[in-house]
């Protein structure tokens, strides 16, 4: 039975067209996946259905649900439907809850706002719904505040809130993108369970093909405001009739062709690294407690080697990276780069800093917006004893190395896309010809196709210059594609270490096994048809 039938959905924001006539149906009790890259209009489709469009947005067409056209309803009527008939959860659980209200109040509010229950009864339902999403009374009483919960727990609260009134349709917009893989697996399980138990339809919006492959009955692929292909999930992914689907599919687990540049000469030697942070006292004059972020970590990274560092958020990956880069002091242990000790602060010599550079996650926040690209890329040159005779030529060649043109040097950073910005960040890291580049979640914010291109670029630069990479990521697929060896980090310790393929194919440590099992993957046999089709063509 069709629950929601969308026909010719058009959307424009300040007269700029965003969606160009979407048609799709969602059946009662099914999981409908909407996949596509950022900017393809996935989220806007959801917001149009909810009539929660940003300022200046207007939508036309039909979205029939229960005999009503959602796109033509009054605001008053929509308020009655939102939360009751259609629930919605969003990507960023850290900011999705009101920080000054308790979780009990926020879940109960869904019932109270619709006049479904008195405050007392609403709080009882809230308790029951929080239990259902796995937040049990002993650890999560109703008077907890959001800041006392982790990201995954907050997303559970959001789900409890969205399903409090047992809506017929739940729209989940990238519900697990901001979460760790193990948490992601738990949240996806929870959503699946709710769909089955409550006979609720789920519209799952995601950029991650593997997630949608494991969840959705039907899937629609979006590109630039259009649905280019739709159908039952397995059949659609096996056939991949549309060129765009094929490209997405290929990029989603793209492994760049890599040459072995690894040597046996140690470049970075970390021995017994310790870093602890002081926690605020729980009561006045109480004992001072510490959080040990990095607990006696030791490893060696060789010249020309690509070493992965995986683990969940909060495991100490970034703290370790900061210590290696000399941005943060260690309390114990040593770090040596090319035989010389790395010491944070002013003790660290410029020549040491010049030997290693970093590329960070956020391609939007890691550049000064008022500087030209030339100045941004040339900035590390001050680390050299003698400034180069022709910095402009150095900038131009660095830009060419990362696939941009020298003329880009005159532009400002806002003129570039996320992928191009990450290329500029790599150019900035390359300009000093460092021995080591620390890549901290450097491709995590990028779309799959752009990510594949950047991985290709990294592989190419490595074989050309014999660079060593320390590649920090929570994404096992990416780490598998770009690294020779991998370190698995849990709660400040390295729990497993070895050749990347061996570690991921036959994990020895329980934690590595959990990580590998939780990582969503496209079923390997779905891609078999690929080879068959290519031989026909």
């Amino acid at each position: 039975m069709t629950l929601l039938s969308v026909r010719d959905l058009q959307l424009s924001i300040h007269r700029a067209p965003i969606l160009h006539g979407l048609d799709f149906d969602i059946r009662a009790g099914e999981v409908f996946g909407l996949v596509g890259e950022s900017g393809s209009g996935k989220s806007m489709t959801a917001l149009a259905l909810m009539q929660l469009l940003p300022y200046g947005g207007t939508s036309t067409g039909r979205a029939a649900m229960g005999g009503e056209n959602l796109l033509a309803l009054s605001e008053r009527r929509m308020c009655a439907l939102r939360g009751r008939e259609i629930g919605m959860i969003f990507q960023e659980p850290m900011t999705a809850l009101n920080p000054v209200k308790t979780i009990g109040d926020q879940v109960a509010e869904t019932l109270m706002i619709h006049g479904a229950a008195s405050r007392r009864a609403a709080l009882e339902v809230a308790r029951e719904r929080l239990d259902r999403v796995g937040l049990f009374e002993e650890r999560f009483p109703l008077d907890r505040f959001p800041h006392e919960l982790s990201g995954g727990q907050r997303q559970r609260v959001c789900i409890a809130m969205a399903v409090a009134l047992r809506p017929k349709l739940l729209i989940a917009d990238e519900p697990t993108t901001a979460l760790d893989v193990t948490t992601q697996a738990q949240i996806l399980d929870l959503l699946k369970g709710l769909v089955e138990e409550e006979d609720m339809a789920l519209m799952l919006i995601t950029h991650d093909l593997a997630v949608v492959a494991g969840m959705a009955d039907h899937v629609a692929v979006m590109q630039a405001g259009r649905i280019v292909e739709a159908g039952p999930t397995e059949a659609l992914f096996r056939t991949r009739a549309h060129d765009y689907t094929r490209r997405l599919f290929a990029a989603s687990d793209h492994a760049p062709a890599r040459q072995v540049t690894r040597t046996e000469k140690p470049l970075l030697e970390v021995a017994g690294a310790e870093r602890a942070y002081t926690l605020p006292r729980t009561r006045p004059f109480g004992p001072q407690s510490h959080f040990r972020a990095v607990k006696g970590v030791s490893f060696t990274l060789h010249e020309g080697e690509s070493l992965g560092l995986v683990g969940e958020s909060g495991c100490g990956k970034s703290t370790l990276a900061r210590a290696i880069l000399g941005l943060d002091v260690l309390q114990g242990g040593t770090i040596r780069l090319g035989g010389e000790a790395v010491r944070a602060g002013h003790h660290m010599h410029r020549t040491m800093r010049a030997k290693m550079q970093a590329v960070f996650q956020d391609p939007y926040g890691s550049f000064n917006p008022r500087w030209t690209v030339a100045r941004l890329v040339a900035e590390p040159l001050h680390l050299l004893h003698e400034p180069p005779a022709d910095p402009a030529a150095r900038v131009a060649s660095a830009l060419e190395e990362v696939g941009l043109v020298p003329a880009d040097a005159r532009k400002y950073i806002h003129e570039f896309s996320g992928g191009q910005r990450q290329r500029i960040a790599i150019a900035r890291a390359l300009i000093l010809r460092p021995r080591l580049i620390v890549l901290d979640e450097a491709v995590s914010a990028l779309d799959v196709r752009v990510r594949a291109q950047v991985l290709d670029l990294l592989a190419e630069l490595q074989s050309r210059h014999g660079l060593a990479y320390l590649f920090i990521s929570h994404d096992l697929a990416v780490v598998r594609a770009i690294t020779d060896r991998v370190l698995v980090m849990q709660a400040g310790e390295i729990v497993e270490e070895g050749e990347t393929g061996r570690v991921f194919d036959a994990p020895a440590h329980a934690y590595t096994k959990t990580l590998v099992a939780a990582s969503p993957r496209l079923p390997p046999d779905w891609r078999e048809d690929d080879a068959a089709r290519q031989t026909v063509v």
């Binding site: 308020c79 939360g83 920080p99 509010e109 706002i113 006045p284």
Partner: protein, 315 residues
């Protein structure tokens, strides 16, 4: 929460000690001999020496400081050199005017600013917003003494609704006091309300752009409900900060308004103390004002913690 309050109280006490040391140093040590300064150029050495004794300037510095602080703690702020009365009584008398005036003005300022700011933010870019923004622009630009004179001309001289100036004293009853403070309070409140309304508006606009407002809307709240139930409380932190600053400013900063309405307030006392070189009065009133600022900051921090649970454990 208790540990938060205790730790804040600790820093309150520390701030008071530091402030008293600074004020003591500035008034008693840095400008040279206060007695000579107060007596002027033509004083005889004998009369300067008498004054030095009267001012308690004869002992060592630590003894003088402890004597001054001990006096303040027991309510003895010394004797005013020009008025020849205890400073404590003088200050208390002036506070009877300044404190109610400040509170009255703050109340008016809040009563005007919060609704105006909320309305403007909720109807951002539309008529109501533009109107509020226009008035706040005016409120900030026009000097408050000019407002004060206009108010006096209209409501006192023309309409005879309220007195044009003077303070009847609390013995005359609450109503006459309120009547005498109404026009000055409005004159003080208008510019403050204009600032506060702008702060409220921009803070609320920021809050309305946050994810949890979208979550609230997805639950079925109307935009008005989302503002009332979720946004306003979250937007109050910067408003409280400004409010705390305004209290301290109004307590002594109303000197021009006090003059326009001929009110015997703290502002005038300190002004007279300075012009008459009465350092005892100046030192005491400055310490009092600094203490008021510190106490108000303490109250504001407690209010932050009441509003936002995240701030309760950052002791």
């Amino acid at each position: 929460m208790l540990s938060f309050v205790l730790s804040r109280l600790g820093s309150l006490a520390l701030s008071l000690v530091v402030a008293s040391l600074v004020i003591f140093a500035v008034v008693q040590i840095i400008p040279g001999d206060p007695a000579t300064f107060m007596m002027g150029l033509n004083a005889t050495p004998a009369s300067v020496e008498t004054l030095r004794k009267a001012l308690g300037l004869t002992g060592s510095l630590p003894v003088r400081y402890l004597h001054w602080v001990g006096g303040m703690l027991s309510g003895d702020l010394g004797t005013s050199y020009t008025y020849r009365v205890p400073v404590a009584g003088l200050v208390l008398q002036r506070l009877q005017v300044s404190l109610p005036l400040t509170l009255f003005a703050l109340f008016l300022s809040l009563a005007l600013a919060l609704p105006a700011g909320i309305l403007a933010a909720a109807r951002r870019g539309r008529g109501a917003d533009l109107t509020v923004m226009g008035f706040t622009q005016l409120g900030i630009a026009v000097p408050n003494f000019w407002f004060a004179m206009l108010l006096a001309l209209l409501f006192a001289l023309k309409l005879h609704w309220l007195p044009a100036g003077g303070f009847p004293g609390w013995k005359a009853g609450v109503l006459p006091v309120l009547r005498s403070l109404t026009l000055p309070a409005i004159a003080l409140a208008l510019p403050q309300a204009a600032i506060l309304a702008r702060v409220m508006r921009s803070s609320l606009i920021d809050t309305l752009g946050q994810d949890f407002i979208r979550t609230a809307r997805a639950k079925g709240l109307s935009s008005g409900q989302a503002v009332r139930r979720h946004a306003v409380r979250n937007a109050l932190i910067p408003v409280l900060t400004i409010l705390g600053l305004q209290f301290s400013f109004l307590l002594a900063g109303g000197i021009i308004i006090e003059n326009v309405f001929y009110l015997p307030g703290l502002g005038r006392l300190i002004f007279q103390g300075i012009t008459q070189r009465d350092l005892i009065v100046v030192q005491s009133v400055v310490m009092l004002l600094v203490a008021a600022v510190i106490v108000v900051n303490f109250v504001v921090e407690i209010a932050y913690a009441l509003i936002d649970p995240r701030l309760r454990r950052q002791a």
